[in-house]
């Protein structure tokens, strides 16, 4: 029966809840994000392709895939070609470690939270490499900003991730979800501050307003993505959409109890979708609210406010746990 188990594992990696499923919801969330953002701004948003424009992200992806792929002669070819592929694999790999259908993820081991943090750092480094290998002045600036921004948000984000991990006594995302399910308690209740910090840090990770500094359109064209076109750009755009799924999925798993809920009849996948959708709407709403920060304001603000607050959250949590066990 070994081959059947193997086939099942292969199918679940490739189709559900693996690559194809993730790509589909990534494109769906892109549509949700665009529609909601447009609605907030009193416009329609995508409406033409498919019912209510739901196929617009697919159309955009196909269009980009079919377009001419221009490679400037001055670019550093190997890195320039590798970056789009690698940047797509990072969020996909990380998503395998997040429970989507039940309390267990596709891949789960002790310490996979650290691995996810590592993968997210790699995304920033890849953005930097992409900008650097383009040798375009705007790309270089954008890449440097991406790296600099990562210095700002990584630390508070990682520290805030520790809150749920301390509660569950484990560094595995699946175990944190199981702890929340078995205690019937969402980690957000004990980590409200950490939740807020993670949302802000993810806005920066996702390069969204007010932290769209590495791709600030009016300043440096498209930042580190400036020179990418055609298939490469399609992969990068898909990677950014997957990052949105990763961000909302990770926050769901760590703070909102993952794909479990108080009503047992509703399957895990539905809980996952509901919770991540709410998070996507929160991200879109925040995107519509703010003006873009400057890179120096972002980094210094992050170290001045986010880092102390995230440490404060951990201290408070420890004190609370100490008091409870006492």
């Amino acid at each position: 029966m070994a081959w059947e188990v193997g086939l099942l594992a292969l199918l679940s990696t490739l189709i559900y809840p693996g690559i194809i499923f993730l790509v589909v919801i990534a494109l769906f969330y892109q549509w949700v994000d665009r529609r909601f953002y447009a609605k907030l701004q009193n416009r329609y948003g995508p409406i033409y392709t498919g019912p209510r424009g739901i196929l617009q992200p697919v159309a955009d992806l196909i269009k980009l895939l079919a377009k001419e792929d221009i490679e400037p002669s001055a670019v550093d070819k190997q890195i320039f070609r590798a970056v789009p592929v690698l940047i797509l694999t990072m969020p996909l790999t990380a998503l395998f470690m997040i429970p989507i259908t039940g309390t267990w993820a596709l891949a789960s081991f002790e310490g996979d939270l650290i691995f996810i943090i590592f993968l997210m750092t790699l995304i920033a480094i890849l953005a930097f490499l992409g900008g650097w290998s383009s040798t375009n002045i705007f790309s270089t600036l954008g890449g440097m900003r991406a790296a600099l921004q990562a210095l700002g948000y990584e630390v508070p984000m990682a520290v805030s991730f520790m809150g749920p991990a301390i509660l569950a006594g484990s560094l595995s995302v699946s175990k944190i979800v199981q702890w929340q399910a078995s205690h019937g308690l969402w980690a957000i209740l004990l980590n409200p501050l950490g939740f807020g910090i993670v949302i802000v840090a993810f806005l920066a990770e996702l390069e969204r307003i007010p932290f769209d500094i590495p791709e600030a359109e009016t300043e440096i064209v498209a930042g580190w993505q400036t020179e990418f076109s055609g298939r490469k750009l399609a992969l990068i755009r898909l990677a950014l959409d997957l990052e949105l799924v990763l961000a909302s999925g990770l926050v769901t798993a760590l703070f909102l109890g993952g794909p479990t809920g108080p009503i047992p009849i509703i399957p895990g996948i539905a809980w996952f979708m509901i919770k991540t959708l709410v998070l996507v709407l929160i991200f879109s709403n925040l995107r519509a609210l703010f003006a873009r920060f400057r890179i120096d304001q972002m980094v210094s603000g992050s170290w001045k406010y986010l880092v102390p607050l995230s440490i404060l959250q951990i201290v408070m949590l420890e004190l609370l746990l100490g008091w409870l066990s006492f």
């Binding site: 416009r43 705007f138 600030a216 009016t218 440096i220 703010f290 873009r292 400057r294």
Partner: protein
């Protein structure tokens, strides 16, 4: 990328760049994220407009002059008709004066609302952009109702205006102004409260009052440095001598002040409009004139939404001008931009540039600006020819 020294490199900004809606080139020398120096190169949209006037009759010139700038079309046209009417030496009907004032103020509202939106866009706040432009539609619809065109109104003719305001139009304008007043008051209250926007605007692109005067800044840029100067008050034209209004000044000298000056000016414009609609005299809207303009020369000034607009007209008695010269407000503001940008951040470039509400196509003509010494000069054709001969001789 060219290395000037170890730490600095130059970043080109334009002629094609998302922050610039029109092509111009700026070479920034930057050190990390800080701007050390800037060189401005104008002339990418030089269209030979002034020469084209010499080949067109005064009537055709009416519509050419609007095309200097799509947004301050009325200001340029007003300047033009003031020039021509001064040469013919006629008094136009008072009602026409009032209608011109009304259209000019509607245009100012449209231009300033547009600018508030662009300012939001430049700092990445597209939501403000969408809302400001949505509200601007109200003015554009009123423009279409009163003049027939949304922009490039073609509302003036030599000797008056082309369309009368009916009582239905007046009530529609009143209604529109009520709505806009409410919206502008909302922006006025909301903008200083939005901290991310203020973080990008307060203390950015500082232009000290003495610099503003020395570098000949005009319009809202100058008034945001606390200097009370406005052609409408200092040298009134049309009906501005009768309409009461305040010249808005702020003394923050930064981008935030420039935003607030413009928002307040919208409110002032609404005040002027309401007064003008109230006191609109009856009578004809235009006088018939013979074709042709007597020989002579004249200079006229108009306060365009972006600042003081100066036109010079020389006539030789035929039906075409001999020389027409335009000094658009944006041109006067370029030297000040150099002073504002130096020492700032790259990220602040778009908003500082946008803060003077630049209109490149207004500006591009034979003018030389040396930003380092903030000196600008213009050459006559002879001087230019001499220079070209000298240059070729090299």
């Amino acid at each position: 990328m060219k290395n000037l020294s170890e730490n600095t490199f130059s970043v080109p900004f334009g002629p094609q760049h998302p922050a610039l809606k029109e092509p111009e080139n700026f070479m920034f020398t930057v050190d990390g994220e800080r701007v050390v120096d800037v060189k401005i190169r104008l002339g990418y949209v030089h269209r030979g407009g002034e020469k084209a006037f010499e080949a067109r009759t005064y009537t055709q010139g009416l519509y050419l002059v609007e095309r200097i700038c799509g947004i301050c079309a009325m200001a340029h046209q007003l300047c033009y008709v003031n020039n021509v009417e001064a040469l013919i030496d006629i008094e136009i009907p008072r009602r026409a004066d009032y209608i011109r004032t009304i259209i000019a103020e509607l245009e100012r509202i449209h231009s300033h609302l547009l600018w508030v939106g662009v300012a939001g866009h430049e700092v990445g706040w597209d939501t403000l952009f969408m809302y400001a432009w949505r509200d601007r539609e109200v003015v554009l619809d009123l423009m279409e109702l009163t003049t027939g065109n949304r922009v490039l109104h073609a509302s003036n003719t030599i000797g008056g205006v082309r369309r009368d305001l009916t009582s239905e139009m007046i009530s529609r304008i009143r209604k529109g102004m009520k709505l806009l007043k409410e919206r502008t008051n909302y922006y006025k209250a909301m903008i200083p409260k939005e901290r991310t926007l203020m973080k990008r605007a307060v203390g950015v692109g500082v232009l000290k009052p003495q610099d503003a005067v020395a570098l000949c800044a005009v319009g809202p840029t100058l008034r945001a440095s606390g200097i009370k100067r406005d052609v409408r008050r200092d040298d009134p034209y049309s009906a501005y001598d009768e309409t009461p209004f305040d010249v808005i000044t702020y003394d923050g000298c930064d981008v935030a002040s420039r935003v607030l000056v413009r928002v307040d000016e919208i409110l002032e414009s609404i005040k002027i409009l309401n007064y003008a609609l109230e006191h609109l005299p009856s009578g004809p809207i235009a006088v018939r004139l013979p074709r042709g303009v007597p020989a002579g020369e004249n200079v006229s000034m108009v306060e365009a939404p972006r600042g003081e607009d100066i036109h010079y007209l020389k006539s030789n008695g035929t039906d075409k001008p001999e020389r027409y010269k335009v000094r658009a407000p944006t041109l006067a503001n370029w030297p000040a931009v150099g002073a504002m940008i130096k020492g700032g951040y790259i990220a602040d470039i778009p908003i500082v540039l946008a803060a003077i509400d630049p209109c490149m196509s207004c500006t591009d003509r034979m003018t030389f600006t040396e930003v380092n010494s903030a000196k600008s000069w213009q050459w006559s054709r002879d001087e230019l020819r001499r220079y070209s001969l000298k240059w070729r001789g090299k």
